[in-house]
C-alpha cells in the first residue's frame, strides 16, 4: 500500500502545503525586514530628501518628488499591514492542510505494532528509575548553570543592604551631615563676649583690667536695642528699619566699620510686617557668634548667619512672631548648635501659624523625619539649629506665652542644660536633644530678666516680687523641691542679676542695687543710685558695672561692703547691656557705639 495513489496524493498535498507555508513565511519576513527602509518614517531616501528641501525650500520638483515618495511608502505600509492580516490566516490554512495531509499519510504508512510481551518488568523499571535519577541530576545542573549565567550576565550597581540604600538616598536628598566643624574651645568663648552678657549669659567678664577712658566711638547706622558682641578683633551690633535689617562689624581697636550686611530676601518672609514698638525696635535680640559666623535674629522672624568676611552663610525665616511688645529674647550658641527661644502669643491655646509649621515640616523633610517634634498647640517653642547649615536639630513646644528673657546654657548635674523662662514655667532642656530635664512653676509675672547660674544655683528674679535660687539637679516637676531659697523684695523687672559666685547683685530699673548672699539669699546691703537703669549689670574682677540709661557708668565694689569705686559719664542714651572683652568695654548707645579701653594707637582700618 506504500504506492497507493491516495497516499501519493496525500504526500503531494502535504509537500505543496508545506512549500506554500514556507513561501508565505519568507514573504512576510521579507516584508518586515524591508520595513526598515520602506516605512515612511524610517526610509533614508525620504529623510534625505526632506533635509534637502530644508536647504532649498523653493524647489518645486523636489517637493513633488517627496510627496510622490511619501505616498507610495504609505501605500507600501498599508500593503504590509494587509499582508500581515490576510497572510496570517493563509498561513494557518496552509498548516491545516499540511498537518491533515501529512497526518493521514503517516497513518496510512503506519505499520501496526506487534509488541511482544515483556518478561523483566521489575528489573527494567528499576533500571529506568536509576537512569531517570541521573538525568534528573543533569537537568538540575543545567537549571543551576543557566541561573548562574543569568545572575552574572546582568550585574547590579544598586546597594545590597538597607544601610547602602540609606546612604544612597541620603546622598540623593542632600540630607547628609554637613562637614562636622570643630567648635572653638570653651576657653575661647569665655575669653570673648560671644552673646548677650558673655559666654554663659552670666555677665561676668574673663578679664579684670578694664579702663574707662574712651578709646573710640562709632556712629550707629541702624537703630536697635540689641547689645554688642565681641569675638577676637571684631565687635558686632545689629540694627534694623522697616526697609531692612542689618548686621554691622567694627574693628575693636579702631572702631572702623569693617562691613555691614543686610539680612534680606529670606523666603517666605513677607515684605510688610507690623512695626515693632518704638522701645523694642527691629533688632532687640542680641546676636550670638561662635567665632565663625555671627547669628542675628530680627523681630520680623528673619534669622541670618553671616560669615566673618561679611558674606551670608545662610538665612532662615522663623516668623511670623506674635509678640505685643516686640520680640526681644537673645540668641545663645553652644558648641555647634544655635538656640532660639521663640516664645510668643498670649497663651498656648492658639493654633500654630503657617510659618512655624512650615519650618518644622521643611526641617522634618530635610532631616529625614528627625524634626518630628513639631510645635504643639501653642506657637512658643525652643529651637536648636545647626550652626554651619541652619538645619533644624530639634525643637520643643513650650507651654508659655510671650517672654523676653534669654535662655542660658549651664553645665550642671552632669548635663548640659538649656534653661528658659516663660510665665509661669522655668524649664530646663537637655542641650543635645532638647529633652526636658525638669520644670518648675514659679513665675507669676511677665518675664524680662534672664536667669544666671552661680554658686550651683540658677538665680532668677520673679519681677517685682522675689529672687529665686533653684537647684538644677532635679527631674520632672520641681516646683516644690527645686527651690533652694526665695528672697522677697522689689526685684528688677528688666535687668538680669549678676553674680561673682559668693554674692549676687540685682539692679532694679529705678536704680536700686541689692547685694545678697548666693548661698541663702540673705541681703548683705543695698544702695540707691536713683537713676533709671535698663542695661543689665556686669562684673569684672571685683568691680560691679552698672550702666544707667542716661549714660552714667557706675562702678561699685562687688564685695560684702558697699563702696562706689567711681563713675564716668557718656554722652548718650543707653538701653543695651555693655560687652567686656580683650580689656575693652563696648557700650551701645542710641546714636553711638562706644569703646572704653587703652587708647587706639593704630590708624583706623578701612573697610
Amino acid at each position: 500500500m506504500n504506492n497507493s495513489p491516495l497516499h501519493r496524493a496525500l504526500c503531494l498535498t502535504a509537500w505543496i502545503a508545506g512549500l506554500f507555508c514556507l513561501l508565505l513565511c519568507a514573504v512576510m519576513v521579507y516584508e518586515h525586514s524591508a520595513a526598515a527602509t520602506n516605512d515612511p518614517w524610517k526610509s533614508p531616501q525620504l529623510l534625505a530628501l526632506k533635509d534637502k528641501l530644508a536647504a532649498e525650500p523653493k524647489n518645486e520638483p523636489l517637493q513633488t518628488e517627496i510627496r510622490q515618495m511619501d505616498r507610495n511608502f504609505r501605500e507600501k505600509f498599508r500593503h504590509r499591514l494587509e499582508l500581515d492580516r490576510t497572510g496570517g490566516w493563509l498561513l494557518l490554512g496552509g498548516m491545516l492542510v499540511l498537518t491533515l495531509a501529512a497526518g493521514k499519510a503517516a497513518a496510512l504508512k503506519k505499520t501496526l505494532p506487534a509488541p511482544q510481551p515483556k518478561t523483566d518488568a521489575g528489573e527494567s523499571s528499576v533500571k529506568l528509575a536509576s537512569l531517570s535519577r541521573w538525568s534528573l541530576a543533569g537537568v538540575a545542573l543545567v537549571v543551576a548553570a543557566s541561573l548562574v549565567v543569568i545572575r552574572f550576565a546582568n550585574t547590579s550597581v544598586l546597594p545590597a543592604n538597607p544601610a547602602g540604600w540609606e546612604k544612597l538616598l541620603a546622598k540623593k536628598t542632600g540630607a547628609e551631615e554637613a562637614p562636622a566643624e570643630q567648635p572653638p574651645a570653651l576657653a575661647e568663648f569665655q575669653a570673648n563676649w560671644p552673646r548677650f552678657r558673655g559666654w554663659d549669659g552670666g555677665g561676668v567678664a574673663a578679664q579684670t583690667n578694664f579702663t574707662t577712658n574712651l578709646a573710640w566711638r562709632a556712629a550707629i547706622l541702624a537703630p536697635g536695642h540689641s547689645s554688642p558682641i565681641v569675638w577676637g578683633d571684631r565687635v558686632f551690633i545689629s540694627g534694623g528699619t522697616t526697609a531692612q535689617r542689618e548686621v554691622f562689624c567694627y574693628d575693636v581697636s579702631s572702631g572702623a566699620l569693617l562691613w555691614r550686611k543686610a539680612v534680606i530676601n529670606v523666603p517666605p518672609s513677607p515684605p510688610m510686617v507690623p512695626e515693632p514698638p518704638e522701645d523694642t525696635t527691629w533688632a532687640a535680640s542680641t546676636m550670638a557668634t561662635d567665632g565663625r559666623r555671627v547669628y542675628a535674629f530680627f523681630a520680623n522672624g528673619d534669622l541670618g548667619a553671616i560669615n566673618f568676611d561679611g558674606s551670608v552663610a545662610w538665612t532662615k525665616y522663623l516668623g511670623p512672631i506674635k509678640n505685643s511688645y516686640g520680640y526681644a529674647a537673645s540668641l545663645a550658641v553652644w558648641g555647634n548648635s544655635l538656640l532660639i527661644q521663640l516664645d510668643q502669643g498670649e497663651g498656648e491655646s492658639e493654633a500654630p501659624a503657617e510659618g512655624t509649621t512650615a519650618v518644622a515640616a521643611k526641617a522634618g523633610a530635610a532631616r529625614g523625619g528627625a524634626g518630628e517634634a513639631a510645635p504643639a498647640a501653642g506657637k512658643s517653642r525652643l529651637i536648636s539649629l545647626q550652626c554651619a547649615t541652619g538645619r533644624l536639630l530639634w525643637q520643643r513646644a513650650r507651654p508659655v506665652p510671650s517672654s523676653w528673657a534669654s535662655p542660658i546654657v549651664v553645665e550642671a548635674a552632669g548635663k548640659t542644660q538649656v534653661i528658659a523662662l516663660g510665665k509661669p514655667w522655668v524649664i530646663a532642656y537637655e542641650q543635645a536633644n532638647g529633652n526636658e530635664l525638669w520644670r518648675a512653676e514659679l513665675l507669676n509675672n511677665e518675664v524680662v530678666p534672664s536667669p544666671v547660674f552661680a554658686g550651683g544655683f540658677v538665680l532668677l528674679p520673679d519681677p517685682g516680687s522675689r529672687l529665686l535660687a533653684l537647684r538644677p539637679d532635679g527631674a520632672g516637676e520641681v516646683t516644690k523641691t527645686g527651690v533652694a531659697w526665695a528672697a522677697d523684695g522689689n526685684f528688677p523687672d528688666i535687668t538680669s542679676p549678676v553674680s561673682g559666685g559668693e554674692l549676687v547683685f540685682t539692679v532694679s530699673s529705678m536704680g536700686m542695687v541689692e547685694c545678697l548672699q548666693t548661698s541663702d539669699g540673705k541681703q548683705i546691703w543695698e544702695t540707691n543710685l536713683d537713676t533709671e537703669v535698663q542695661a543689665s549689670p556686669d562684673i569684672a574682677g571685683d568691680r560691679l558695672f552698672v550702666l544707667a540709661k542716661d549714660g552714667a557708668l557706675v562702678m561699685l565694689r562687688a564685695a560684702r561692703e558697699r563702696q562706689e569705686i567711681g563713675r564716668c559719664q557718656l554722652p548718650d542714651k543707653f538701653l543695651a547691656s555693655p560687652a567686656f572683652a580683650g580689656g575693652r568695654i563696648f557700650l551701645r548707645g542710641a546714636t553711638n557705639l562706644f569703646c572704653l579701653g587703652p587708647d587706639a594707637g593704630k590708624p583706623a582700618k578701612q573697610p
Binding site: D39, W41, K50, P57, I66, D70, R71, R74, L81, R85
Partner: protein
C-alpha cells in the same frame, strides 16, 4: 510524586492517602478562593495609559502585540488652541503651512487639518492610520497646550493579561484599572 506506598502495604492505604490529599487540596483551594472572594470583583480590569506620565518614547507603536498598536493619539479639543501652526501637525521646520507631505510631522498622515475660521484650524486623528508613535504628542506638548495625547483604544486592545507596552514603558505610565473607567482624558481646567 506518585505517593505509592511500599509493596507490602494494603491497597486501601493508597486510597486513604489519595483521599486525604484530595481533601487537603480542596480545603486549600477553598481557603484561597475564600480569601480572594472577599476582595474579588465582579467587574474586570483593563489597561490604562496616564498621559501625565507618558514620555512620548515611541514604544507604544513598536511594542504592542498587535501589528497596529491599540494605543492611538486622541485629541482633547477643549484643550486645543486651534493654532494655525500646530506643532503636532507641522514638522519643526515647515516649508509652508500647507498639508503637503513635506510639511507634515505625522509619519502616516493620520492627522487631518480642517479650516474653521480665520485663523483657527481644527485637528483630528484618523485612527485607521494612527500608529500611536506619539511624535505629534511630543510636538504638541513641547510647544503647545498638550491637547494631543496617547490613550489605549479599548475597541482594539486585546487586554492581554500582561501588556507588552506596559512592560517596556519608560515612564511607568500604564496601569490596570477597573473596566468602568478605562480612559484618562485631558480636560480644560
Amino acid at each position: 510524586m506518585d505517593p505509592t506506598p511500599p509493596l507490602d502495604a494494603p491497597v486501601t492505604r493508597r486510597h486513604f492517602l489519595r483521599n486525604g490529599a484530595r481533601l487537603m487540596a480542596m480545603t486549600g483551594l477553598g481557603v484561597a478562593a475564600g480569601a480572594l472572594a472577599t476582595r474579588s470583583t465582579g467587574a474586570s480590569w483593563v489597561w490604562q495609559l496616564d498621559p501625565a506620565k507618558c514620555l512620548h518614547c515611541g514604544n507604544c507603536a513598536t511594542q504592542c502585540v498587535l501589528e497596529q498598536s491599540a494605543v492611538k493619539c486622541v485629541h482633547a479639543y477643549a484643550v486645543c488652541g486651534y493654532c494655525q501652526l500646530c506643532t503636532g501637525f507641522f514638522a519643526p521646520e515647515p516649508n509652508e503651512l500647507t498639508t503637503a507631505a513635506e510639511n507634515q510631522l505625522c509619519p502616516t498622515a493620520a492627522i487631518q487639518r480642517a479650516f474653521v475660521e480665520d485663523p483657527y484650524y481644527q485637528y483630528s486623528i484618523d485612527e485607521q492610520l494612527c500608529i500611536g508613535c506619539a511624535k505629534c504628542v511630543e510636538g504638541c506638548n513641547r510647544f503647545g497646550n498638550g491637547s494631543l495625547f496617547l490613550q489605549i483604544r479599548h475597541d482594539r486592545c486585546l487586554n492581554c493579561n500582561e501588556c507588552a507596552i506596559a512592560r517596556a514603558c519608560p515612564g511607568d505610565a500604564f496601569r490596570r484599572v477597573p473596566a468602568d473607567h478605562p480612559y484618562l482624558l485631558k480636560t480644560a481646567s
